[in-house]
């Protein structure tokens, strides 16, 4: 069965390591914060100028001057730091953030990503997404494997304007965990109960399937 939003977040969380500085995009990536394994410390970077983002505030601790990149009110954890937007993107562009998780419309076998613009629809802007994909070595894209109409989002070549070129190496969809390498998709894991054939049928770009593709596990 396709992964739920929560399961996507849980699977991403398994990629975390103690001491990781992590930037989580809006949507499913944000949920990852709820599944940080116990005993593990992770610091969340919010590109509007905060390292060490905490939970949403209470009514009492609500502060208009403390928001995240999604413009939601937040809090800080112990050891947090605040800085300006140039410093924030110096961290991102300079490769100091250990893991970036963000959504996308499409990815392709060359590691290209399209995530910010659908021609003909209203353009809202790329925000920090282009900086994030260009700056990070370690990126996980989370998205559904195919559109509601069954069209693959894992393509030979992206059809939408790109957010970044050749920068994506890992994609977690509701059906599969995939690595991008040498111009191919490598199927690393399947969602529980999802067959290799189902994944193959919904993958447009070349998919490399090993003899034994394990199911994801959620403890």
């Amino acid at each position: 069965m396709a992964l739920s939003r929560e399961q996507l977040a849980m699977r991403v969380a398994q990629e975390l390591q103690d001491g990781y500085y992590v930037n989580l995009g809006i949507g499913i990536p944000t949920l990852v914060a709820n599944y940080i394994p116990p005993g593990m410390d992770v610091m969340l970077q919010s590109e509007n100028g905060l390292l060490g983002m905490g939970a949403f505030p209470t009514e009492e601790s609500l502060d208009a001057d403390l928001i995240n990149a999604g413009k939601q009110t937040v809090t800080m954890v112990k050891g947090a730091s605040l800085f300006d937007s140039a410093e924030s993107f110096a961290m991102i562009r300079g490769g100091h953030v250990d893991l970036t998780v963000l959504g996308a419309f499409e990815v392709d076998v060359e590691g290209n990503i399209a995530s910010y613009m659908i021609p003909g629809k209203l353009i809202k802007g790329m925000g920090g997404a282009m900086d994030l994909v260009a700056g990070a070595d370690n990126i996980i894209v989370t998205m559904t494997h195919a559109s509601k109409h069954g069209q693959s989002k894992l393509l030979k070549q992206c059809t939408l304007p790109l957010t970044g070129k050749g920068c994506i190496k890992k994609v977690l969809t509701d059906l599969a965990f995939i690595e991008i390498k040498d111009g191919k998709f490598y199927l690393l894991e399947r969602a529980p109960g999802v067959s290799v054939e189902e994944i193959q049928a919904l993958t447009d770009g070349e998919l490399v399937i090993s003899d034994d593709v394990p199911e994801m596990t959620f403890s």
Binding site: G49, F56, Q72, S88, M130, G166
Partner: protein, 233 residues
């Protein structure tokens, strides 16, 4: 009175010299840390044909959205403009030019403008619509595009505290683009919550030295919250 005293007597005086078709760089992220009273004064002065450089463009009835409502903005340079119905209408109608710029590139363009660096290379935007028409160069096996800096005729900035010399301190994530905007204005105007006596700010803790600041005014702020999210615990 010292030549370093930057305090002016009114918002009108704070924006004296701002005329039609100028470029204005504004601090703020979403509605957080925006120079809300300076924006209202631009609305009141009915200055037209402005080019605004700001990460976002406010909402319909607050922040830079107010200037859209009065059709005072000719062009906006921003990274994300999604929360504004009037914005969409004017953009779709071709009344408003929009230059979408990645958020980190925008921040760096402001910093470079203030720091006398006319252009820099960045990987951000390479191979995307942002990179079209820009020079591409390889360094260490990776491709980068050349981005030019931004300066403004005016910069409008919101800070938390200032001393009369214009030394500034920002608060939490209301800092964002404000210190960068402050460096990049030919005339930099700052509104603050509190002007404190000279000598009461620790020199080690000043975020923006007064050398960047031309005019200073104390205001009162609504500080509207865009996404009021509370924990359910």
């Amino acid at each position: 009175m010292s030549g370093f005293n930057k305090v002016v007597g009114s918002y009108e005086e704070a924006l004296a010299g701002l005329t039609d078709n100028m470029t204005v760089i504004a601090g703020g992220f979403g509605l957080c840390g925006i120079p809300e009273n300076l924006i209202k004064e631009i609305q009141r002065q009915k200055t037209k044909g402005l080019t605004l450089v700001s990460n976002n463009c406010g909402v319909d009835d607050f922040g830079l959205g107010l200037l859209l409502g009065e059709r005072q903005i000719k062009k906006i340079v921003a990274s994300y403009v999604g929360e504004n119905a009037e914005f969409e209408r004017q953009m779709m109608n071709g009344e408003l030019q929009v230059e979408l710029t990645p958020q980190g590139t925008l921040a760096e363009k402001m910093r470079a403008g203030g720091a006398g660096i006319p252009a820099f290379f960045t990987a951000t935007g390479y191979g995307t619509p942002v990179g079209e028409g820009k020079e591409v160069r390889e360094f260490g096996g990776r491709k980068y595009i050349l981005e030019e800096s931004i300066r403004g005729d005016f910069a409008i900035v919101k800070a938390y505290k200032a001393d009369p010399y214009g030394n500034l301190i920002f608060r939490k994530t209301a800092r964002n683009f404000n210190p960068l905007a402050a460096t990049a204005g030919k005339i930099t105007v700052v509104e603050v919550e509190e002007i404190v006596p000279l000598g009461s700010l620790d020199p080690d803790q000043i975020h923006t030295p007064g050398i960047y600041v031309d005019r200073l005014i104390q205001g009162t702020f609504e500080k509207r919250i865009e996404q009021r999210t509370l924990s359910q615990g």
